[in-house]
Symmetry: C2
Subunit: 387 residues, 2 copies
């Protein structure tokens, strides 16, 4: 059988570079990792107990493909109270984590060839999902505007692609990998352009509960008719492996996304849906404890990295610092990260897979001890490289 | 925003007609349903305990996107012993139920426009997945060959579509909706044609453990290089809502399917993966108890339906009887099923969504009492229609 005849949209895509790097550095004994975007906390006990209860209650049968009604009701209330989302239960789709919501949304909103603006540096899956759906990803470098997308950048990107019908834009807020949180004014400044251009907005707000001293706003407040919000419990309730997320969108569009979802997975896991009801009805404060710890680590890491000569944008949320490698090192992000792993057995994600080879993404979803070890190793490597 | 500009591959597809019919008849108070393809059993206790253990062990973090190694190892052994599958762990992908495995496989194997042969009557998702991937579904009526696909039918279908590059065929064995189990000879008779034509075979064997007095064979035995097997624990271990399945395929192809899977869902639920290890290492006999009960119900239903004048092919597996409505009724399957629901509050799936409007699909994954009620209602409706 000729593998060359398989779908080039899949063949041409590489497996996640983030996972590959993480896998590759696992060869080093005792490696300390600040690589992955995953809470180092466990699922809160009351949510675990709800999952166990649903197992004992034999909640093991097919659920409605949109998700169980209790969960959609709970999500409607929870996110309204948290962030001011304005969606009724029938505008909320329960997905297999944020990834599946993104996949169903990319599949539904666009036609092959359509352009989608992706502000970079960005989590790589947006570009991949554009590619596997035959779309044209339009990467916009935001490193000169504080890693915040501006109307001017949107207009410039559209003008630079006269042959492409640009129909969408991705906003990740709080941002992975930069930790940037858009202010209310920064979002409002985007509204006229996004409205005039009739762009669909895929608003990935999965880190919405992890902000430090600043408030999270949602573009859906001003552009409810053209925004699809992707959110979920992976980060707010440390439920990454349990795979439960939500897509919120206007009636009509969300109905179509639900169809794509149905033929992609049928439903998320039933017992996790019941556990998620508990998270959204009694777990309003679960993120607060984690947030306090993340914030301390962030402050420590920012201080130490600054001492070492790294430059970075003020991190306002998520659990990453995106730090620029001092120029005196003369190292690309890949060279630097490879050497840090090989010489000091510390894993930090190079910026390249996110689209900027000058930076490192340092995750502080790792223990205080690991973070101290990493800071020490970074100091030693800088000495090696600049002596 | 103009919904007409959304992806027509999604817009043009209807939500599952099976779920819609089931939902529609739920309006009738006290309705007895023999509609859905879902075991009426609960998950076996030892698997539930393993899931609870994994929750208590905080197995809540991201797993490798192929699934955890223990599960892939266990699947390799289990299915080798059950059905003679010959796949090492690295040729096995853990999916979010069989549906997600099918979706990733359809996406990967084919290019837009390619033809895929689907023997009918068929579970509707195959045609839907062909449509949402821009393929050409080629429906082949097998009602004149005992609901078994033949080489001649494959050749005729290819000849009838000279403008289409036919690159795949779906085999559902045991079959939903007909209950037919292919014999070894029937499968072997297909091999030369499938080999000569270099067709990918998507072999949906999700009902493989539910056969009654006959053995389940897999086309992969003879065509290992061109078969992708879809299987999972939904039917064999009554784990429908938990969403865990597997795709088995030759190295190279399965690696590509795994990429499509990664960008579609990341992974199946972690705690379900750990529970599935228990199912595959200590649950070899779990299906036997269910099978014995299904077999009794099947025999009873077949006997009663025959008395009432229904014709049917010998059901050898799954949990369906596909029964032809007596011609004296002068009813399409939809008319008949609608009236049965309205007049007698009994739900039975019309054959139309499966591609044959002369038949009913009667699921006996329902209690003995429900089955007796349905038989009685069928008798009364036949009297009404033929008096």
């Amino acid at each position: 059988m000729d593998l060359k005849q398989l779908n080039p949209e899949i063949i041409d895509v590489q497996p996640s570079a983030l996972r590959q790097f993480d896998h590759q550095i696992s060869q080093y004994p005792g490696i300390v990792k600040l690589t992955l975007g995953e809470p180092d906390f466990n699922v809160p006990e009351h949510i675990k107990q709800a999952a166990i209860q649903s197992i004992n209650d034999n909640q093991s049968h097919y659920t409605y493909y949109w998700g169980i009604q209790e969960l959609r009701d709970a999500a409607s209330t929870y996110y309204r109270e948290k962030f001011g989302y304005n969606y009724s239960a029938d505008q909320i789709l329960c997905t297999v984590g944020a990834t599946e919501g993104l996949a169903a949304t990319f599949k539904t909103l666009f036609n092959p060839g359509d352009g989608v603006i992706i502000p970079g540096p960005a989590y790589p899956i947006y570009k991949t999902l554009a590619n596997v759906n035959g779309l044209t990803p339009i990467m916009v470098d935001t490193s000169d505007s504080g890693f915040v997308l501006t109307s001017e950048q949107v207009e410039t990107a559209i003008a630079a692609h006269p042959d492409v019908t640009v129909r969408g834009v991705v906003i990740t807020d709080p941002c992975n990998p930069t930790g940037v949180v858009y202010t209310e004014d920064q979002l409002k400044a985007l509204v006229p352009t996004l409205k005039d251009r009739e762009l669909w907005i895929i608003s990935d707000e999965i880190y919405g509960e992890l902000t430090y001293g600043v408030k999270h706003y949602s573009l859906s407040t001003w552009l409810p008719d053209q925004t699809i919000i992707i959110n979920g419990l992976s980060k707010s309730h440390a439920m990454t492996g349990w795979r439960i997320g939500f897509a919120f969108g206007p009636t009509g569009v969300i109905d179509e996304i639900a169809k794509a979802h149905q033929f992609q997975v049928t439903t998320p896991t039933s017992i996790v849906q019941y556990a998620a009801v508990e998270a959204l009805t009694h777990g309003q404060d679960d993120a607060a404890q984690m947030r306090a710890i993340y914030q301390k680590r962030c402050a420590y890491l920012k201080q130490e990295l600054t001492k070492l000569g790294f430059e970075m944008v003020e991190p306002g949320g998520a659990f990453y610092i995106f730090a620029k490698i001092p120029e005196a090192c003369h190292q690309t992000s890949t060279q630097f990260a490879d050497r840090l792993a090989a010489d000091y057995h510390v894993g930090i994600m190079p910026g390249k897979p996110f689209g900027d080879d000058r930076y490192l993404r340092i995750s502080y979803a790792s223990s205080d001890e690991n973070i101290r070890t990493a800071v020490s190793a970074l100091g030693k490597l800088l000495q090696d490289l600049t002596k």
